[in-house]
Chain length 196, copies 2
Amino acid sequence: MPRGPALDAEAILTATEDVLRRYGLPKSTVVEVAKTLGVSHASVYRHFPSKVALHEAVTRRWLSRSHQELADVAADTAVDPSQRLASWLTALFAAKREKYLDDPALFATYGLLVSEHSVVATEHITELLGQLTRIIGDGVRSGDFASADPEIEARAVFDATTAFHHPAHADQWGRAETRTAFENVRILVLNSIRSH
Amino acid sequence: MPRGPALDAEAILTATEDVLRRYGLPKSTVVEVAKTLGVSHASVYRHFPSKVALHEAVTRRWLSRSHQELADVAADTAVDPSQRLASWLTALFAAKREKYLDDPALFATYGLLVSEHSVVATEHITELLGQLTRIIGDGVRSGDFASADPEIEARAVFDATTAFHHPAHADQWGRAETRTAFENVRILVLNSIRSH
DNA sequence: CAACTGACAATACTTGAAACTTGTCAGTTG
DNA sequence: CAACTGACAAGTTTCAAGTATTGTCAGTTG
């Protein structure tokens, strides 16, 4: 008896997010997701081949939402490259920090999910590096930046700011000292890449 | 009946290192340390007030051994500051990487110990920042480096190289790409700090 | 007949009783 | 008498038994 809106993948993903938020990763089960939706757990398996695939999909959706706003900063060619790079790095740190401070347990849950689905994590990082490469490439073209290879430079900038975007360091992000530390690394990075 | 060399703190620390290496942190007990030394566990408590204090002492000893060689690089004023900073960063990464690759399980054990004894970790970082500050201060004085405040600059350099010294990233240190990534961050940092 | 379900085997997780560990101290020993 | 120990209470960890979860599929339903 299919009543109400037909069960679809998006509804299942949203229900899975709910369950992850309420129960955390270890206690979030496919049975609980199905219960939230008022269906049997077998129905969930008609849309996702396994719990792992479901978790991978929910992780991908979460990460892709989280780099949407960064894409806008990266694409805004009206702003000069130095400012654009500074804004992008600040936005990356701010987005992660806010997610962590808003709900540390949920942030930890997604941190676990990301580490369990390294393919998704790699795709996410590739996307971010693409955005960084674009900003740096624009800067080199306009003469603001000096770099032999924007792609390698992007990786170096990303690696140099690890402490401010890698979840392993999230427990430091609430401290005032960490905000200052970020400012100083951002200045260091921009000072390095700007042509002299 | 005290026979052989009297039981002293150093012997207990060495036995504790043995037990940590053989059993890992969760299964390393004071009883096992005592068994290794051929004494009762009550004897261990005559030298250390608690298991936590024992672990703190063993952690302090391990970290202080590990920054001994770095102190030499930092103090070698015969080498010019750029080279000295490059060598110091390379030595820091090399020391950590070798310890990790030599015995990943033991490295993880000490990583846990360090995180459980944050006071010791803070002291260790303060020591490393002191060495960095000295190199940068020398560079500013000789005109090789430009920096308003060597102490803040040292912190920024340390933070920018987090991916290559923080144990959370140890699982990447064996990869060839990571060595390249380190070279590029090291170049970025030196390019930033050198006066133009 | 497409969407869904109940029932099921295999595997993973919880739980509480037994075993072990920490830290103390009065007593032993050379 | 200083160094050490055995025995002990309080707290923590382990393990085996029961319980829950995953993933499948033949069968039901609108």
